[in-house]
Amino acid sequence: MPIEINHSRCIQCIGCASVCPVGAIELIGLRMVFHPEKCISCGACAKACPANAIKFFPKGEDK
């Protein structure tokens, strides 16, 4: 997984979804949901997240 969302830190501001160029994150119900199959590992979501709730693993280093 290129990213890991820390749901206890997340404030559902949808900032990550607004800057994701491929629509790989969306708010469903009361939770941000990540679609790994769409992710291009650009890190924009993690860089922009105001709550520092997204842990980003650069390509090749993901677990």
Binding site: E4, N6, I11, Q12, C13, I14, G15, A17, S18, V19, C20, P21, G23, E26, L27, I28, G29, L30, G43, A44, A46, K47, A48, C49, P50, A51, N52, A53, I54, K55, F56, F57, P58
Partner: protein, 404 residues
């Protein structure tokens, strides 16, 4: 259950509420879907609203929607000097957004519009290649289809549907500010919004204090989301608005001992509107189209204004039974020739501010008057620029973009 309408609107914020109110008032059958469990929640903004648009639309805001009256904005330079900006834009209110959003939508329902909360739009439905409706899921239950000859994205920053319609609606990191905000208490204020600028305080952004009732205030920050101001989870560098905000509060005589009642955050657009607002049978209106002020990131008034402009075009399209892009384009042209012009000037100003050092910012603030600041915000740059450049000619290189 009724599953066909004249217009489907996605998003029940100020844009969707305004659009659906005007359309329903004129006899159209309108359905509004919102994915939130309760309209108005969660609040993601400073909650400021200028009175101009509310007055223009003849809306009588009831008391519970308003937290406090605002009489102007105090703009504070990096060295602490300040100028008060007072005009039609800064006379208004700090809202209770939670109550306001819901109330505004209720006004549309009174006129005959329908709204359904906790309903996620899964996809666009197409018929013979043409957009003919949406598939939705209510409370995560079995999806079903709803049809209409016109689907409108009024979804705000996320703009999922606009992307599905093939409109480029993603913001780059450079075009947005990433924001963190607290609702705080107690804060003595003078019914002025306070805006603090400076690269130390808020790189490529600002700190705001929006006063609220009962000595409360929304204290927030937006900084350029492209900036790598600190280390983030996983070790990469990125923007860290919360760290800057906490630092600001620590250094603020009154706020450092104040309490925090709520945390919120978000992303605001400070870039240009998207390239295209319409497609056949499809429109993007409000913040989803990045119809947002690039200086302060405010979107409520612009969204309400765009809602009326879009509604006027839709009424014509409905009458002609023609929802082609060529007819819907009238809305886009009207917006770009009207509010779009002001937004374009504000974007120019934002880019100039971005390349102005703290020291130059301080100098500009010592040189210009309240009237000059009002002129600048009204897009009349020539006078104030001439004054600043007369005393500091080296600033011409930076400021000439405003007057050429």
């Amino acid at each position: 259950m009724k599953t066909d309408y004249d217009v489907i609107i996605v998003g029940a914020g100020p844009t969707g509420a305004t659009l659906s109110r005007v359309l329903a008032q004129n006899g159209l059958e309108v359905m509004v879907f919102d994915k939130r469990k309760e309209l108005g929640e969660p609040v993601r903004c400073g909650e400021g609203l200028g009175a101009r648009e509310v007055v223009a639309q003849g809306i009588d805001l009831p008391k519970p929607c308003i937290s406090t009256d605002i009489h102007g904005a105090k703009v504070i330079a990096p060295d602490g000097s300040s100028i008060v900006w007072k005009d039609k834009e800064t006379t208004g209110w700090v809202l209770e957004r939670k109550i306001f959003d819901k109330w505004l939508m209720e006004q549309a329902v009174h006129k005959g519009a329908r709204v359904q909360s906790y309903t996620r739009v899964i996809d666009l439905v197409k018929n013979g290649g043409k957009i003919s409706g949406v598939s939705v899921s209510h409370a995560d239950h079995e999806p079903y289809e709803v049809s209409a000859p016109l689907v409108i994205s009024a979804e705000g920053m996320e703009s999922t549907l606009a992307r599905k319609a093939g409109i480029r609606a993603t913001s780059t990191l450079y075009d947005v500010d990433t924001c963190y905000q607290y609702e705080m208490q107690e804060y003595d204020h003078e019914n002025l919004i306070e805006l603090y600028f400076g690269n130390e305080v808020a790189p490529r952004g600002y700190v705001w204090i929006f006063p609220k009732a009962d000595k409360k205030a929304n204290v927030g920050i937006g900084i350029g989301a492209h900036l790598e101001t600190g280390e983030k989870e996983g070790g990469i560098r990125g923007a860290t608005p919360k760290e800057y905000l906490d630092k600001f509060i620590e250094s603020h005589a009154q706020l450092k001992d104040a309490s925090k009642l709520q945390d919120f955050g978000g992303i605001i657009s400070v870039g240009a509107p998207i390239d295209s607002f319409v497609k056949d049978n499809f429109m993007v209106v409000g913040t989803a189209a990045r119809q947002v002020d690039p200086i302060h990131g405010g979107g409520i008034a612009l969204s309400m204004e765009a809602g009326v402009i879009a509604a006027n075009t839709i009424l014509k399209a409905h009458k002609a039974k023609d929802y082609s892009a060529s007819l819907l384009k009238e809305y886009e042209n009207t917006w770009r020739a009207g509010p779009g012009k002001k937004v374009a000037k504000r974007l120019l100003l934002r880019k100039v501010m971005e390349s102005t050092s703290d020291e130059d910012f301080n100098y500009i603030f010592k040189t210009i008057t309240e009237q000059d600041l009002n002129d600048v915000m009204a897009g009349k740059f020539a006078g104030p620029v001439a004054k600043v450049v007369a005393g500091r000619p080296q600033l011409l290189g930076n400021l000439k973009a405003l007057v050429s």
